[in-house]
C-alpha cells in the first residue's frame, strides 16, 4: 500500500516540477530561450512578427512569442502581472505609464547596455528618447512615433460638393464644411466628435493655446479658459448635430462609422493608416490632411517603446531583442508594412511610401510643431477623471466649463499626492 502511495506522490511531484520547469526556464536544457513579448495593437502584429522572424534568424537560440492584448485590457493585465511578479520579458510601454513603472523598479534600466554596445541615441528624435528616460536612466529605445491628422471621406465630400480639406482650413472652415456634409435623411454626419483625448481634444486644446498639465506636472490646466475653449470645440459639434451623439458613439465606435461612410471626417492618428488601408470601404475612398488651424498650428505627438522587465531571467537575450527592435533594420521592416512611423531617423520616408494612396507626409511634417502627449507619474488616474466628467459634457448633460473645472479640482488633488 505504502509503495503505491509513494509512487503516486512521486508521480505528482514529477508532474508538478515538469509544469513549473516549462513555465520558468522554457526548456533551457536545450539552450533555447523563449522571450514573451506583449503588445496591444493587432494591426501591428504582422510587422512585429516579421521583425521577430528576422531576429530569430540572427539569434537561432532565441524564440520570440508575441501576445496581443487589446488596448482596453492591456494596462490592467500588465499591472496585475507586475503585482504578481509575472511580467513578460519584453513589452510595449507608452508615455503615460513609463514613470509609474520605472519609478517602482519594474523595468530594467539599459544605460550600461547602450554604452557597451555603442547604441547611438542621436538616431532617434530627442523628445522620444527623453520620454523614456526617468531620473537619468534610459528604459527603452524609441520604436515609433505618431501624430494626428484629419481623415476625410472623398466620396461624401464629392456628393455634398464640398472642396477637400487642406492646409488652409481653420476651425471655422471645418465647422462650416461639417454642416454642409451632414445629411440626416441619409444618416450621414459631417464629423465624429469622439470623446478621445490624444486623437481629439488635446489637439484643439493646444491649438487654442491651452494646457492640460503644467510643465512641472504639479497643476492641472483644465481651469484655464483656453483649455475649456478647446473642449467646447467638440461639444459644440455635437450640439449643432453635425456629429453623432455621445450615446451613438458609445454604441457604434467612430471608427466603424467612418469605415461605413456614415461620417465624413474624423481626427485620427497615423496608426489608423493601416486599418483604413486594409478596410475594403475606406481603402480607396478616404485621404488625410493636416489638422485645421486654431489660434495656432498644434498636434499631439507620442511614441511607443519596448521595455524589459526588471525580473526577467533572460536579461541578456531580452536586451538583444530590444536592441534589434530599435535598429534601423527593424525600423525599415516596420516602415514597409505601413503600420507605424518608425522613430529611427531617416526611415520615415519608407513609411510614407508604403501607401501612396494616402497623403501620409502630413504626419511627418506636423511632427515639427508637435506638442508631446501630457503625462505625469500616475497619468491613468486623471485620464479616468477625464472620462468620468467629459462624457457628461459630450452627452450634453453638463457644460464643458463645469466638467473641466470639476476635473481640474480633482486632478489637482491627485497631482498633489503624486
Amino acid at each position: 500500500m505504502m509503495k503505491k502511495f509513494s509512487f503516486i506522490i512521486v508521480a505528482l511531484l514529477l508532474v508538478l516540477t515538469a509544469c513549473s520547469n516549462s513555465e520558468n526556464s522554457s526548456g533551457s536544457s536545450s539552450g533555447n530561450v523563449t522571450l514573451k513579448y506583449w503588445i496591444w495593437d493587432k494591426n501591428q502584429l504582422p510587422a512585429m512578427q516579421d521583425i521577430a522572424k528576422e531576429f530569430e534568424k540572427k539569434h537561432p537560440k532565441i524564440n520570440v512569442k508575441i501576445e496581443v492584448t487589446p488596448w482596453e485590457q492591456y494596462w490592467s493585465k500588465l499591472e496585475t502581472a507586475a503585482t504578481g511578479n509575472s511580467l513578460p520579458d519584453v513589452f510595449w510601454m507608452n508615455g503615460p505609464n513609463i514613470v509609474k513603472y520605472a519609478s517602482n523598479n519594474m523595468l530594467l534600466p539599459i544605460n550600461d547596455q547602450i554604452k557597451k554596445d555603442n547604441v547611438d541615441l542621436s538616431n532617434y528624435p530627442k523628445a522620444l528618447v527623453d520620454l523614456y528616460t526617468v531620473e537619468g536612466k534610459h528604459y527603452g529605445l524609441p520604436k515609433d512615433f505618431d501624430t494626428i491628422g484629419l481623415w476625410y471621406n472623398k466620396k461624401l465630400f464629392d456628393e455634398a460638393k464640398v472642396p477637400y480639406p487642406d492646409e488652409t482650413w481653420d476651425w471655422a472652415k471645418l465647422k462650416e464644411a461639417a454642416k454642409k456634409l451632414t445629411n440626416p435623411s441619409k444618416g450621414v454626419w459631417g464629423i465624429a466628435a469622439a470623446m478621445e483625448n490624444q486623437s481629439n481634444y488635446y489637439n484643439t486644446i493646444f491649438q487654442n493655446g491651452g494646457t492640460v498639465i503644467s510643465d512641472d506636472m504639479k497643476k492641472s490646466g483644465y481651469d484655464s479658459p483656453e483649455t475649456i475653449e478647446g473642449l467646447k470645440f467638440w461639444t459644440d459639434l455635437i450640439k449643432d448635430k453635425v456629429s453623432p451623439t455621445q450615446a451613438q458613439m458609445t454604441e457604434t465606435k467612430p471608427n466603424n462609422l467612418f469605415e461605413s461612410g456614415k461620417v465624413a471626417m474624423m481626427f485620427a492618428g497615423s496608426w489608423m493608416q493601416i486599418e483604413f488601408a486594409q478596410n475594403d470601404y475606406t481603402k480607396d475612398k478616404v485621404d488625410v490632411t493636416v489638422l485645421p488651424k486654431g489660434k495656432k498650428r498644434a498636434v499631439v505627438i507620442h511614441g511607443l517603446t519596448s521595455v524589459i522587465s526588471a525580473n526577467t531571467p533572460h536579461k541578456k537575450e531580452a536586451w538583444e531583442f530590444v536592441k534589434y527592435l530599435g535598429s534601423k533594420e527593424a525600423a525599415l521592416i516596420q516602415a514597409k508594412t505601413g503600420t507605424q512611423i518608425p522613430a529611427y531617423n531617416g526611415t520615415q520616408k519608407d513609411w510614407v511610401e508604403s501607401n501612396k494612396k494616402f497623403n501620409l507626409q502630413v504626419f511627418i511634417d506636423s511632427a515639427k510643431y508637435a506638442t508631446p502627449l501630457p503625462i505625469s507619474k500616475d497619468t491613468s488616474k486623471w485620464w479616468d477623471l477625464e472620462t468620468e466628467y467629459f462624457k457628461k459634457a459630450w452627452g450634453q448633460e453638463m457644460s464643458p466649463e463645469q466638467a473641466a473645472k470639476e476635473v481640474a479640482k480633482k486632478m489637482n488633488e491627485l497631482l498633489s499626492k503624486e
Binding site: 500500500m1 502511495f5 490592467s76 499591472e79 496585475t80 507586475a82 503585482t83 509609474k100 517602482n104 519594474m106 444618416g187 470623446m195 455621445q246 450615446a247 451613438q248 458609445t250 454604441e251 457604434t252 500616475d378 491613468s380 488616474k381 479616468d384 472620462t387 462624457k391 457628461k392 452627452g395 448633460e397
Partner: protein
Amino acid sequence: MNVMNTELRKGKSGIKLKAASSFKNKSKRSDWFWGYLMIAPTILGLAIFYMWPTIQTIYFSFTKWGAFGNHEWIGLENYKQLFHDPNVLKAFENTLIYTVITVPVGIILSIFIAVFLNQKIKGVSFYRTLYFLPVVTMPAAIAMVWKWLYNSDFGLINEILRSVGMKGPSWISDPDIALYSIILVAVWSSVGYNMVIFLSGLQGISKTYYEAATIDGAGPFTKFFKITLPMLTPIIFFVSIMSLINAFQVFDLILMMIGSTSNAIEETQSVVYLFYQNAFVLNNKGFAAAIAVVLLAVILVITAIQMKLQKKWVHYE
C-alpha cells in the same frame, strides 16, 4: 502429540486472529487515508483558490494600495468611505433592482417552459436544445450579439420596429432603460439552465398523484397548483438560492454591453462592476476589497433568511 497439536492449532489460530484484527484496523485506516486522498484535490483547490483569497480579501479591505501591490493598514477607512460614496449606494440599488426582477421572472418563466417541454409534443428535444443553447454560449459572446441587436441606429430590433413605423429607444445608451435591457438578456440566458433543473424535478414527481387526482376529477390547473407546484418547491428553493447569488454577482453583461464611456453606466453599474473598476482600472484594491466584503455579507444574510423561511413553504416528500 495431541496436546502439541492442539497447542499448535491454538497458536496458529491465535496468530490468525491477530493477523485478521490488525488487517481490519489497517484497512480502516487506509479507508480513511484513501477517502482523504480522493477529496484532496477538491479540498486543496477550495483552500488555495477560495478560502485563502477570501481571507486575504478581508485583510485587504483594511488597507490602502499604492502601485504594484504596496499596501498599508488604514483600519476602517475604506468602510467609512464606502458608506458615504453615492456610487456605491447607487450600485447596490442597481443590483437590487436587477435581482428583484431577474430572479422571480427567471424562475416563473423557466417553470412555465419546463412544464411545457415536459409534455409529449413533437420535436421536444429540439426545443429543449434551443432553450439550453444560451447556457453553453460564452457570456462575452452573448453580450456582443445582444449589443448589436440593441444598437439604436443599426440594430435588428430597432430595424424591425422601424419597419412597422415605430421609433425604437436607445436600448443600452439611454440611462433610463439600459438596466432593463440588461435584465432582459440576463433572463433570456438563465432560463435554459433553470429549465433543465425543473425538468428533472418534474420527472421525479410520481405519476400516481396525477392518476389519483384524475379519478377525483381534478382539472389541469388544479393538478398544476395542487400537485406540481408543491412537489417542485424543494427545487424552486434550490434554484432561487442559486439565481439570487448569481444575480448579485452580475458583471460581464454590464462591462461588455455598457462600458465606462457610456453615460448610462452610473444607472447600470452593479456592485461587482464597481469592484472591478476599483480593483483593476483605478487600482484602489483596498476599497474594492471592502466592496467585496460588504457584498459577501449581504449575500450571506439573504441566503440565511431564505434558509430560515424555507420551512414555511418548501414541502419535502
